[in-house]
Each structure stands twice: as structure tokens, then as C-alpha cells.
């Protein structure tokens, strides 16, 4: 049931996304700032994901094929 709710909210969010304003290339100055990236510091993202992966029950959501380790 919870899974169903999660999938439904993802779909609802997606529809919301598609219905938003069109931003022109010359309006993307702020969007192009390094800090506007999801995970602007690759190695920091890796270290932190690896830490939580090895210390918590939950993981995943950002990428695939990451590989395992004995830490988990």
C-alpha cells in the first residue's frame, strides 16, 4: 500500500513537472551555476553516500551499478 502511494505521488509530481513554464536558453544563467547541480562535488557525494550505505538500513535512489563492499 505504502509503495502504491509512493508510486502515485511520483506520477503526480511528474505531471506537475511537465506542466511548468518553458525557460529559454538565455534565462539559464542561474541554473548553470555549479551549486545548482545535484551533487556538485562528485567525491563528496561518493564519500557521504558510501558512509550512509554502510551505516543505515536504507540506500539507493541516485544511480545504479555502484557495487558492494564488506562494510555493509
Amino acid at each position: 500500500m505504502k509503495r502504491l502511494i509512493a508510486v502515485a505521488s511520483a506520477l503526480a509530481f511528474s505531471v506537475l513537472l511537465i506542466g511548468c513554464e518553458t525557460v529559454q536558453p538565455w534565462q539559464k544563467g542561474n541554473l548553470a551555476k555549479p551549486d545548482m547541480a545535484f551533487g556538485p562535488d562528485p567525491l563528496q557525494t561518493r564519500f557521504e553516500e558510501h558512509t550512509y550505505f554502510s551505516k543505515e538500513g536504507a540506500s539507493g535512489g541516485m544511480n545504479v551499478g555502484g557495487g558492494g563492499c564488506g562494510c555493509n
Binding site: W26, A32, A37, Y52, G57, G67, G68, G70
Partner: protein, 391 residues
């Protein structure tokens, strides 16, 4: 003559983490700069005492990790990424619950070397990435690979991502009975990244993984009681949203993840980072993270069998083949991380950064149910320093 926006977007793309999930502003474009990153992580975790003797040291693991990352566009349509990390791991790990192996004077020592390579080929607004990863330790080896496809709409405001990955791991403990067992993980992701306004970008990812094989912790199985199912289905929904505050010259990066698996671990995780631009090329980024999770259905509290005593769960003698774990990571808890990062950009593509974080897990901090009782709080400190060069 490129417009400032265009120059900036190339810069952002170069700094982002491509080949995995589309990064900034929902675009699929070839980065035109090479990035080399070096980072060093010092990590240590600890609890109040060893779980046996009051006043004793509760130090757990210490990890020292130098890491390298290279992003190199080698033509107008091919991009290579290489990552490497070395972990030097020492300390003590719990035998069961929060009773440390250090209690008997025996410590843990391990070294891990891991590397990965991602090759991305761009076909206009479509990018195909193939990734391979290898990781080796004294008692564990992992070989993994992945395939990711990204496609942007003509206005470059929407990017669709799908990916599939596989990992084949071997576990061969260096303590107790000698054996090698395998563990395989198949995972997949589907996501949308969307420009929402000239100051907002959002992302939704659906993630699924199936783990199968030997999922038990071999050391906890020797010194404690650890018997886990041989399969695990994991599901995650990740929503991320970045907003730029023009008047404050600051970026808010936020995320929420819902996680569920068939071990009955349900987790909700929230993160927020505030990137404040300052004069002289400095950026100050305070960050916070909160997570709350339920326990796996086979986790047992630190209440032991009346006859057998610790570490055996009540009724173990009559049901020795059932699923059990005393692993704190599969208990019910809430976790808080607070961090602060300072970065500075210099001339000619150089930049440096440093970050300090404090992380703590407590049963009492769980929201949405009771936390697991009887465990010591788990605490960790993380320190990272990095040097980056773009050219």
C-alpha cells in the same frame, strides 16, 4: 561569442556528476573542460563505551580515505570518467548489538581499494553511459557494471533517465570458518529532471534493487547471531529540488527519499544544503540531514535467552534456523547529520574545499514509531579536504 549563460552552463556541466544521473539544469550536453579532483576523508565512529565495561573506550571504526576523480572529454562526443579510492580501516566492530569486538581485545583491520570507469557517448541530446567498477578488500570483492541512458527534450528543459546495473560480490571472511559465498545485486533507475523556472530545477527518481545470495554479516554470525534471508527487494523514491535565491546569492539544495524493502525497513530521509556565495570566491555551505527508519522484521532487541544468555535471542534453542540479526543498522532509529563546508575558487581553474560533519543515530530520535531500545547512541565525525583543478 558565447553568452554568459552558455559559458556558465558548460562550466556547471563540467563540475557536475555525469554518466550517472543528469546533473544541473536538466540538460544533456558534452562537458568541455577536464576536471581532476583529489579528496581525503578522515572518518571515525564511536559510542559511549565498549558495551561491557562502564568507563571503557567506545571507539569503533576509523577510516582514512584518499580518493581521486577525473572527468575528461576526449572528443566532442566522448567523455571518460575515472574514480579511485583507498580505504584504510581500523578499529572495533560490534559483535552483537552495541557490544564491541574491542571488548575482547581483538580489533578489525582492513584495506579497501576501489576503482571505476565510466565512458559516455553523446548523440546530440542523448547520452549513453557504460560503467564498470571493481572493489577489493581482505574479505570482500565486488565487480559491478551499469548502463545509463539520458535523453533531453529539444528545449533542454527536461531530461529522462533510465539505467540498469549489476553487481557480483564475493564474501570470504578471514576469521572463523573458511568459506566463499556470493551476493548479487540487480538494480534499475528511472528518473525525470525538469527545469521548473529560471531559478528552480527538480528531479524525481524511482529506484529498485534486488539483492540475492549471502546477505548475512559473516562476523556477526560468528560472534553473535546473524541469519538473514537470502534475498532482499529494495525500493526508493528520491525527489530533489534546487532553488537559487537571486537576492541572497545563495542556493538551497534539498531532497527527500522514501525507502521500503521486503525486510520491512521503511525509511524517510530529508537533506538540505545552503550554498552561500561570499566575496573573494568563497562559498560557505551549512548542511543538515535527518533520517528515520523502522527495524528489519528479524531484528531482535538486546533481551537475551534466559538459558543461553547473550547474544542469543529468546527461544533460539527451539528455533535455531529462523532469521535473526542484532545489527544496529537494521534497528529502528533516527539519525541527524550537521555539517559545514567552506570552498574557495582561485585563478586558473584551481579550487580547494574543507568540510566537517557530525552524525548521530539514536533510537529515541525515530519519528513515526518507537526506536529500538537498549542500544548505545552511534556517533561519527567526518572531515574532508579537497583540491580541484579544471582546464
Amino acid at each position: 561569442m558565447p553568452t554568459p549563460a552558455k559559458t556558465g552552463s558548460i562550466l556547471a556541466a563540467a563540475l557536475a556528476l555525469p554518466g550517472v544521473v543528469p546533473s544541473a539544469q536538466a540538460q544533456v550536453t558534452v562537458p568541455n573542460a577536464t576536471l581532476i579532483q583529489f579528496k581525503y576523508l578522515y572518518y571515525k565512529d564511536y559510542q559511549e563505551n565498549n558495551g561491557v565495561t562502564p568507563g571503557s573506550s567506545g571507539d569503533r571504526m576509523t577510516v582514512k580515505s584518499p580518493a581521486l576523480y577525473l572527468l575528461a572529454p576526449i572528443s566532442d562526443s566522448w567523455v571518460f570518467e575515472i574514480g579511485a579510492v583507498y580505504d584504510n580501516i581500523t578499529g572495533a566492530s560490534p559483535y552483537y548489538h552495541t557490544v564491541l569486538s574491542g571488548a575482547s581485545g581483538e580489533g578489525v583491520e582492513d584495506k579497501r581499494l576501489a576503482g571505476d570507469i565510466t565512458v559516455t557517448k553523446y548523440f546530440g541530446r542523448t547520452a549513453v553511459s557504460v560503467r564498470g567498477a571493481y572493489s577489493t578488500e581482505d574479505d570482500y570483492r565486488s565487480i559491478a557494471g551499469g548502463f545509463t541512458l539520458r535523453h533531453a527534450t529539444p528545449d533542454q528543459n527536461t531530461t529522462f533517465t533510465i539505467g540498469i546495473g549489476y553487481s557480483s560480490d564475493d564474501v570470504f571472511p578471514q576469521d572463523g570458518p573458511v568459506f566463499t559465498r556470493t551476493k548479487n545485486t540487480l538494480d534499475g533507475i528511472a528518473g525525470i529532471t525538469q527545469v521548473l523556472s529560471r531559478n528552480d530545477v527538480g528531479q524525481v527518481n524511482l529506484y529498485y534493487a534486488n539483492q540475492s545470495g549471502y546477505l548475512t554479516d559473516p562476523y556477526k554470525a560468528i560472534y553473535g547471531v546473524d541469519q538473514r534471508p537470502d534475498s532482499r527487494d529494495q525500493f526508493a523514491l528520491l525527489v530533489r529540488w534546487n532553488h537559487y535565491f537571486q537576492s541572497l546569492n545563495a542556493t538551497l539544495r534539498s531532497s527527500y527519499r522514501y525507502y521500503h524493502d521486503d525486510w520491512e525497513v521503511d525509511a524517510n530521509t530529508f537533506t538540505a544544503e545552503w550554498g552561500q556565495e561570499l566575496p573573494e570566491g568563497f562559498t560557505l555551505t551549512p548542511s543538515a540531514r535527518y533520517t528515520t527508519q523502522s527495524a528489519a522484521f528479524f531484528y531482535y532487541d538486546p533481551v537475551y535467552d534466559a538459558t543461553l544468555g547473550a547474544p542469543f535471542p529468546p527461544g533460539y534453542a527451539t528455533n535455531p534456523n529462523a532469521f535473526y540479526t542484532s545489527d544496529q543498522r537494521l534497528s529502528a532509529f533516527g539519525g541527524i547529520t550537521l555539517g559545514v563546508k567552506l570552498a574557495k575558487v582561485f585563478a586558473e581553474g584551481w579550487s580547494v574545499d574543507g568540510k566537517a560533519e557530525y552524525y548521530e543515530q539514536r533510537g529515541d530520535w525515530r519519528i513515526g514509531g518507537d526506536g529500538s531500545p537498549g542500544l548505545q547512541a552511534f556517533k561519527a565525525q567526518l572531515y574532508q579536504v579537497g583540491v580541484n583543478k579544471k582546464f
